[in-house]
Symmetry: C2
């Protein structure tokens, strides 16, 4: 076997490849050079996972990478119909973000329960304003998304005494199907969006679904911005259909400076950082190196995306 060519989409230099050094020819592409370089690459590593360039650059036929790995949990940014129809294998970073995102969701839920954003506002005003806060234990969460991230979120919330229901694409052990969603939303204190972006999840949190929720409920999105109809969420918060929300992901990222979401009372805006704890890039690199070892040895890859469904199926 000749030395394979690894094409890296991303302008950040890739961290050390460790064991792979000398066993692979590394080339870099940015969004403008990706289309020209794809045909000669054996493997594509989507290191800049904020880019949507793969969708536009993927060759319809002819030479193309046999394997695409993305350093992200979501694959919506690269799965174009041509890639989905091809025999190219797509893998993702399943497993790296579960624990960090679960902690991040717990941080937001506890911050809302304890009214921490208002505490910081009162502090800026040097105002001593005692309030009663909420007990978290004994409350109910509805976690939409039953993959490893959703399950980690549910597990962390359960560790804090919350009863967490998981909702997935279809009912299975410990997971509710979509037919239970509205009933669960109607009694949830915390609604957490952690689903992959697919044609069946796009825009699922719309005006009707926010209307089903309790006025005391908080909504948290750590999945993808397009799961939510942002204008409907803004309206639901403004009209106090729900108590508040935290968004870590948005329809357009970075969130434009003129977006009304920045200044909406009751809304916490964070810059798509929920999974990114110190050392995460090293973990992503190490995971890719392990996958590469499997691929180079001709062994089956793990974390293989079902390209029709748009995520890695199963437990």
């Amino acid at each position: 076997m000749t030395t394979p060519t690894l094409l890296v989409l991303g302008t950040d230099p890739l961290p050390r490849l460790g064991r792979l050094t000398g066993r692979v020819r590394v080339e870099y592409a940015d969004e403008s050079t990706l289309a020209a370089r794809l045909p000669s690459a054996d493997v594509l590593l989507v290191w800049d996972f904020t880019s949507h360039a793969v969708r536009a650059a993927w060759p319809g036929g002819g030479p193309r990478p046999r394997w695409v790995h993305t350093a992200s949990a979501g694959v919506d940014h690269l799965l174009c119909p041509e890639l989905a129809a091809s025999d190219t294998v797509v893998t993702n970073a399943r497993g790296v973000f579960d624990g960090p995102i679960a902690e991040y969701v717990a941080a937001l839920v506890l911050a809302f329960a304890k009214d921490l954003p208002r505490t910081l506002t009162f502090q800026r005003e040097r105002t001593w304003r005692h309030r009663e806060s909420r007990r978290l234990a004994g409350t109910r969460a509805c976690v939409v998304g039953s993959g490893p991230i959703g399950r980690a979120i549910a597990g962390t919330l359960e560790a804090l005494g919350v009863t967490a229901a998981l909702v997935g694409r279809a009912p299975r052990d410990g997971v509710h199907g979509p037919e239970d969603l509205d009933r669960l939303l109607a009694r949830a204190d915390w609604v957490i969006a952690a689903a992959p972006l697919t044609e069946s999840t796009r825009g699922m949190f719309d005006a009707r679904r926010f209307g089903v929720m309790q006025p005391s409920a908080y909504f948290v999105n750590v999945g993808r911005g397009q799961l939510v109809v942002e204008e409907a969420l803004a309206e639901a918060v403004r009209r106090r259909w729900i108590a508040g929300a935290a968004l870590d992901v948005f329809e357009t990222e970075p969130l434009p400076p003129d977006s009304p979401l920045w200044r909406l009372p009751g809304l916490v805006v964070s810059p798509h950082m929920s999974g990114d704890t110190v050392g995460w890039r090293d973990e992503l690199r190490a995971q890719f190196v392990e996958l590469f070892e499997l691929w180079a040895a001709g062994r089956p890859l793990v974390n293989v995306v079902d390209k029709q469904r748009g995520y890695v199926p199963g437990h």
Copy 2:
């Protein structure tokens, strides 16, 4: 037995006494009338637990309440030498605040780990600024105070994957003695103050102890303000001896508007609210009613404070 007189210190009307209605004569006192009314009371309920009036008003000898209950965990606001030397029994609200305070500490620790205060600052500035945050699981906490509140804090942090060491007045099963404190502080990521205020804990968090901590460590005080030398803490945060701190209690409460603590970067100020979740006053009332039933039946009280030590001893 004649109908006993219950004197309530506090201007807030006492919530319904339920079962006790008609079995007790209720009188109210504020700070100015307390001294005059104490001698004729059988029981004193310190409902306004922010008041220090009992210390000044307690009669040196002669008629006095045989039982004093405070609707708080701490008893430092009422334990004067004359009360400590008398045969009057003192009880506290042990148990009501444990879970709420543990959740509040978890909220603060997670907020620091996930850099939430800065996220809110960037949001106000409409600035999209991605940062790496910290993983909480695998970090170390040192919880100073081994009563029910300290143990609940340690338990909640452990549920989030933190290794939590408890420090108490003396070593016992699962509790370190003061001789281990500096060693534990030196390697803690989170230092939590949850000790009662006694002569041996007053001012224990001083410049030397903040100097022992790691530059990456955060300090959280949910005990009593006087556990901390505030000027030393402010200096430690200013000089970045530690990464930051959250104070829910202060030497002077409410914190005066001109205190530099309000505006110190890296410091979170909250208004002594960590234990006060919705329904807490009902829980305090119910707890007092249960204690009163024991007292009226001549049975031994629970939650009895060791007036020499200044807290309820034992597990």
